[in-house]
């Protein structure tokens, strides 16, 4: 089962430039929450702060309180431990090029010392099934490299890889923006299924996608969270004028 995310006054900087201002938000467990906004509004930065990926950039830092389930992300646990509980899928599919499909999915476990072969097999099969990729690769997953798949398949591989470590939350940073419409459709279908087991936060610049897959949506602008509500409300009757301007295409 997934867990909820409570964010309280989160701020983030790139060197001296501030990118996020006092973000406070409660993400519901086992739902998909979309994060929308124009380019440069901080949506990717926000999501990357949730699993402390933001600080891998030199001179970047974040401050504030983030609780994911019962874990305090910024106080007490190391970033490495956090990232094992939170999965991430990136904008451009990035399978490990030197590994087979099987090894890619197992990577999160094997690289952290997991050795039990039989259990690995089970987990890999399960993860590939979650990602709707198993049937397509079950015969070749030990032989073909991760990079030999098509774009859409690679992204599903990355999703399987993220799911293999059994995170409670899955963060997706514009996962479909590099994909064709058919692959995008498949992945959106996937998100529907995954919601039952995981909490999903998906960054998207495609408003139609947000309304298709997410129950809740947060609108970001210039590093601030302008509005956060049920998706239906955001897109039909937003409370803030800026949200309305963005939805109707007056900017962005």
């Amino acid at each position: 089962m997934g867990v909820g995310i409570q964010v309280d006054k989160l701020n983030a900087w790139f060197g001296k430039t501030q990118a996020l201002y006092d973000i406070s938000i409660n993400v519901s467990a086992n739902h998909a929450t979309a994060v929308i906004g124009p380019s440069g509004c901080g949506k990717s930065t926000f999501v990357r702060c949730l699993n402390r990926m933001h600080e891998t950039i030199p001179e970047a830092r974040a401050a504030g309180r983030v609780r994911i389930g019962d874990i305090d992300v910024y106080n007490g646990t190391s970033a490495v431990q956090i990232r094992r509980r939170i999965g991430m899928v990136f904008q451009k599919p990035n399978p490990f090029p030197t590994m087979s499909i099987y090894d890619n999915v197992a990577a999160g476990l094997k690289l952290n010392g997991f050795r039990n072969r039989k259990q690995l097999d089970e987990i890999v099969q399960r993860s590939l099934t979650y990602a709707a990729l198993f049937d397509e690769v079950k015969d070749t997953m030990h032989k073909k490299s991760g990079a030999s798949l098509s774009g859409g398949q690679q992204q599903r591989l990355c999703i399987a890889r993220a799911l293999a470590v059994e995170p409670e939350v899955l963060l997706m940073d514009e996962p479909c923006s590099a994909l064709d419409p058919i692959s995008t459709g498949k992945i959106e279908e996937l998100i529907f299924q995954l919601k039952e087991k995981f909490t999903i936060v998906i960054v998207t610049h495609n408003m139609q996608q947000a309304s298709r897959v997410a129950e809740f949506t947060g609108f970001f602008l210039l590093g601030k969270l302008i509005e956060y509500d049920k998706t239906e409300k955001i897109f039909t009757n937003p409370s803030d004028k800026r949200t309305e301007d963005y939805i109707t295409g007056r900017f962005g």
């Binding site: 867990v3 490495v80 010392g113 399960r126 299924q193 039952e196 087991k197």
Partner: protein
């Protein structure tokens, strides 16, 4: 979708991965690779330290005049490095005079004139010259180049150009000219490859602009490419000089190894690198050894300065930095 399989997964159980977060291992790893990097610094420091301490004796005995004296007499403990300095400079100069036109010519041909299919093979074969070890150049020079010089080239040079004073004396074959020629062959690949690199770095628009004015191909090369790449080419030449100054084996095998200064290129000579190569393991006496190390120190300093100068010049044209991966 198979929801039965999905349902089989565990719900919010303890995390699968039980290993630690690797903080200690991270620190250890960092220290290990940092130490490797620091090793590079340590090595250069070590080289400077060794050269300075082991040459102290002769520095105290002869001072700066060491490099202006010609006497090299181990028996009487009299050491002067002028013949070696002279030999190093002259052999390198001869090498450059021969090598530069050839290397630039090859580079121009490969970059601008050669048909596309020929470019790769030609570039490859020029690089192949760089892979041949010095001792093999020397071997070939002793048994093929030197007889050629002795029997054909030197008599001809003496006959027609002896009046310059450069080509006088008996044509031994072995001597400064032989050293200059073999050095030239050895530095051509470096000069040529840098020249090619800086010529390729000149943007295509420059070439097209000149051609659009109605220039011939050579005029285009001269004004559109060479003029822009000129600084880098000079850098390449200086890099070749640096290589020539430090070259040891091939030169030792054909220069004659006599600490003499002569105006003729036919005469045998001695270079800084050669005297060390020949006499170091047999040097008896501390002053002898120290003098040889001092020659080494001077060679080290000169090559460092020359190489640094060359790097700066080449970098300024190509902005040569390895490809970045960020973002």
């Amino acid at each position: 979708m198979n929801s039965e399989v999905i349902a089989g997964a565990q719900a919010n159980a303890a995390p699968l991965i039980k290993s630690g977060d690797g903080a200690v291992a991270d620190r250890t790893f960092f220290v290990a690779v940092w130490a490797c990097g620091a090793c590079v610094l340590a090595l250069v420091g070590l080289i400077v330290y060794e050269l300075i301490t082991k040459s102290r004796l002769s520095w105290q005995a002869f001072g700066l005049g060491f490099f202006f004296r010609s006497e090299w007499d181990p028996v009487n403990d009299q050491f002067g490095a002028l013949p070696f300095v002279y030999g190093t400079l002259v052999s390198s100069l001869v090498a450059l005079i021969i090598a530069v036109p050839l290397a630039v010519g090859v580079a121009v041909f490969i970059t601008e004139m050669s048909p596309r299919w020929l470019r790769g093979p030609l570039a490859f074969t020029t690089e192949l010259l760089a892979a041949i070890p010095s001792v093999i150049y020397g071997l070939w020079a002793i048994f093929v180049l030197v007889p050629l010089l002795r029997q054909d080239v030197q008599p001809a040079l003496g006959k027609y150009f002896g009046w310059t004073g450069l080509f006088t004396g008996p044509p031994y074959g072995i001597g400064m000219l032989a050293a200059g020629v073999i050095l030239a062959i050895m530095v051509i690949p470096i000069i040529s490859s840098i020249t090619r690199e800086v010529m390729t770095a000149v943007p295509q628009q420059q070439r097209e602009a000149v051609l659009a004015l109605g220039a011939t191909r050579w005029e285009m090369i001269r004004t559109g490419v060479l003029r822009n790449a000129r600084i880098g080419i000079v850098g390449g030449i200086i890099l070749g000089l640096g290589r020539a100054l430090g070259e040891t084996m091939a030169v030792t095998m054909v220069i004659g190894n006599r600490p003499e200064i002569s105006h003729s290129l036919f005469a045998p000579g001695y270079t800084m690198a050669s005297v060390i190569a020949n006499e170091f393991s047999e040097a008896t006496g501390d002053l002898y050894l120290s003098s040889l190390v001092e020659v080494g120190l001077a060679l080290f300093i000169v090559t460092i300065i020359v190489n640094m100068l060359a790097q700066v010049l080449v970098w300024s044209v190509t902005r040569g930095m390895p490809a970045r991966s960020r973002g």
